[in-house]
């Protein structure tokens, strides 16, 4: 028995060794083969079929339906020209960016991709985006009609790379019924100090446990680093300067972090939440800061009246932009490029901007859309949305540490989780975060110098 076992193991061992060696040879021999097949297939495809602009995007639910409606409308209008947009949803912003990355590797990327605020720069840095100036000119895109803080985010070295589409800002949402029941005015707090005074009237406790919170903090995956950015600015701090000088350890930024800490661990009126939207909708939180892009969903699902307000101030007002825009990948065929630009211009033209904003709550990216008659009457019907549009004028682009450092959003977000969830001191946590950001920014700076020199 034992001899047999021994022999069978050694035979197996021999087989393994042989297969490993032979595997390498076989692999070396066959590696290029699939590429050849793909190339010949893709070369044959465009000649036989009508022109197709492949669009990868990220929306589901109400927002997805609205985007599908825009694509359908475009396709209907273009039917005579034998041009179609092929709309494919790839998952959330992160998943879409991951798939675009993989697709670029496989030389099989979409023509137009929805890229979020934290992702487009990676594609710019790797020179995989098409510079849009010539296309903007040839397709007569009124670039001056886009809101300046939004269009300028995708503008570098005198070139447009990323056109605003589903752009948002953080907004203060409050449950009007709960505010009313607590005897509070029907408006958002002017300052965080004022909200601190109101908060005890909004919470309810079950023993020591906070049953209904006045405010909820999301986790890193739900973009706490995006929402906290404005708070850091309100305190006079920042994550970083545009030249990648990190500012996490500055007194003002740390003070903002300590405020977040205290809302949970000292004042006890806020709590970290797995889903701030659900907590708000279910009456477990009286208020929250969330994206304007959540407004469509809230309006459809809330069983109570909710109000919106500018973000509360501290020493200053502070509110950042966010959301996603559209870019064209440089793997796009030259004959498709003008049509890809046409689609981008079409979905962000004044008329469609109004439709998109009304359906989703994303900001009207065009100035003429924001002041159009249809929009004006919509403000009367749904004043909560007007607040968001008014606030847009006061927003500013985000700090480089969050949007340009790879994974910067999550590095800061996980630090903020340590503050809100674990109750660690913001000074110590932000020092760690600062160090990580400096290290992670170094290769970006190197590449950026090369790309932009």
């Amino acid at each position: 028995m034992s001899r047999n076992e021994h022999r069978s193991i050694s035979r197996r061992g021999l087989l393994k060794a042989m297969s490993a060696g032979a595997g390498m040879v076989a692999l070396a021999a066959c590696a290029p083969a699939p590429a050849v097949t793909t190339e010949s297939e893709s070369a044959a495809a465009p000649a036989a079929e009508p022109l197709t602009v492949l669009l990868w995007s990220s929306y589901s639910g109400k927002n997805g339906e609205a985007e599908q409606a825009l694509v359908d409308k475009f396709n209907e209008e273009m039917a005579g020209m034998d041009l179609q947009v092929d709309y494919q949803v790839q998952g959330n912003y992160e998943e879409t960016a991951q798939k675009v990355t993989a697709a670029l590797q496989a030389q099989d990327a979409p023509d137009v991709a929805l890229l979020s605020d934290v992702w487009w720069f990676k594609f710019y840095l790797n020179q995989t985006l098409v510079p849009l100036n010539d296309l903007i000119e040839s397709q007569n895109v009124e670039v001056d009609d886009y809101h300046a803080p939004l269009i300028e985010e995708g503008y570098r070295q005198g070139v447009y790379w990323w056109i605003p589409f589903a752009r948002s800002t953080p907004l203060f949402y409050y449950n009007r019924e709960m505010f009313d029941a607590a005897g509070l005015p029907d408006r958002g707090p002017a300052t965080w100090e004022e909200f601190g005074e109101w908060a005890p009237d909004l919470v309810s406790r079950n023993g020591d446990e906070l049953e209904v919170a006045a405010f909820v903090h999301p986790d890193s995956a739900s973009y706490i680093a995006w929402l906290f950015q404005g708070v850091a600015w309100q305190y006079g701090g920042a994550y970083s300067d545009p030249d990648f000088t990190m500012r996490m350890t500055e007194e003002e930024t740390v003070a903002a972090g300590r405020f977040y800490h205290d809302t949970v661990h000292a004042y006890g009126w806020a709590r970290p939440s797995k889903s701030i939207g659900e907590d708000f909708l279910n009456g477990f939180s009286a208020a929250m800061m969330a994206s304007t892009g959540s407004m469509g969903g809230l309006r459809a699902n809330a069983e109570f009246e909710f109000g919106t307000a500018f973000l509360p101030e501290h020493d200053f007002f502070g509110c950042c932009t966010g959301g996603a825009g559209l870019g064209i990948l440089n793997t796009t065929d030259a004959d498709i490029l003008p049509y890809a630009m046409d689609y981008i211009a079409y979905v962000s033209n004044p008329e469609n901007t109004v439709f998109w904003s009304k359906s989703t709550g994303y900001m009207p990216v065009r100035k003429s859309a924001a002041t159009s008659d249809e929009m004006t009457s919509y403000y009367e019907e749904f004043p909560q949305f007007k607040t968001a549009v008014d606030q847009l004028e006061l927003t500013r682009p985000q700090d480089s540490a969050r949007v340009w450092v790879p994974n910067g959003d999550q590095i800061i977000g996980k630090g903020l989780e340590r503050v809100t969830v674990l109750g660690e001191d913001a000074a110590a946590v932000f020092a760690d975060v600062n160090e990580t950001l400096v290290n992670e920014a170094a290769p970006v700076l190197e590449t950026l110098t090369v790309v932009e020199s």
Binding site: L15, S19, A20, A22, G23, M24, A26, L27, C30, E94, Q98, T101, A102, L104, Q105, K122, F123, L125, N126, T128, N206, G207, E209, E211, D219, S220, A221, P272, S273, K274, N282, F284, P406, N407, Q410, K414, E417, R418, V421, L422, P443, T447
Partner: protein
Amino acid sequence: MTGPAFRQARAKVSSAERKERLLFALLVGPNLFLFSIFTYWPLVYNGYLSMVRWDFLGPKVWVGFGNFRHLFTQDEFALVLWNTAVFTVSTVGLICGFGLLIALLLNRSLLWRDGVRAVVFSPVMLSGAAMGIVWLFILDPRYGLLDVLLGYVGLDSPNWLLDTRWAMAGVIIVHVWKNLGYAVVIILAGLQAIPKELYEAALVDGAGAFGRFHAVTLPGLSPIFFFLFVTTMLASFQSFDIIHVMTEGGPVNATTTLIYNLYDEAFKATRAGRAAVSAVVLFLGMFAITLIQMRFSERHVHYA
């Protein structure tokens, strides 16, 4: 034998050998081909990736062991290794332990036995992601089913997925629940394969219930347990879907295991090099454990 006769005999042997070799190549070739592409090549390429800095788009920059040095000096990576150990040991222990208890129970003649077996096994067939979402509702500390059940016995639900002390327990519970049925079925098959005569002989020798379990059942199940340990451990090491849906590795990395860290580094942070280091550590860990289990099995596993 001399001259031509010898040469002829040699030619015969080698032609037979050649045929055998051809047959061997034909039988092994297709598998080898697929293994080479989908197993060996990624393994080799991953080793290379662990030595470079690469964001999946730009050029690869050779950094040698820089990625290893970086990760092994980070507290976060130590936490990841610890989480992996806690998750793996707990899930394997609980799956095998509860699996044995339930299998022993279902091996007796019970009312509705077949129905119960089906119920116990059914979670295995469901998708981990879907289960994760269902359990998100169950574990919710304010409106979850578990909170209601705990309320009946006067207990408050912990904040399962947002409290760093409970989040790991939360994902372990769901992983065990999902995979328990698999262990039960395997152990049940093992129990039914133990010859009845052995129990009868033990009974004649005066062995009590515990004695029979210790002297007959456990040794009889040893090959089954060996198999179960290997497969459940490998599955635990690679458990991704439930963690992704329920906690995304949080809060504050409390449920980030090696495989989740690999995903985080590769697809969220787009750092192929550091992700590859996680993969190397995962591979070496699994390889070492499998070797240890094989050595152990030579001594302690009894094949009937």
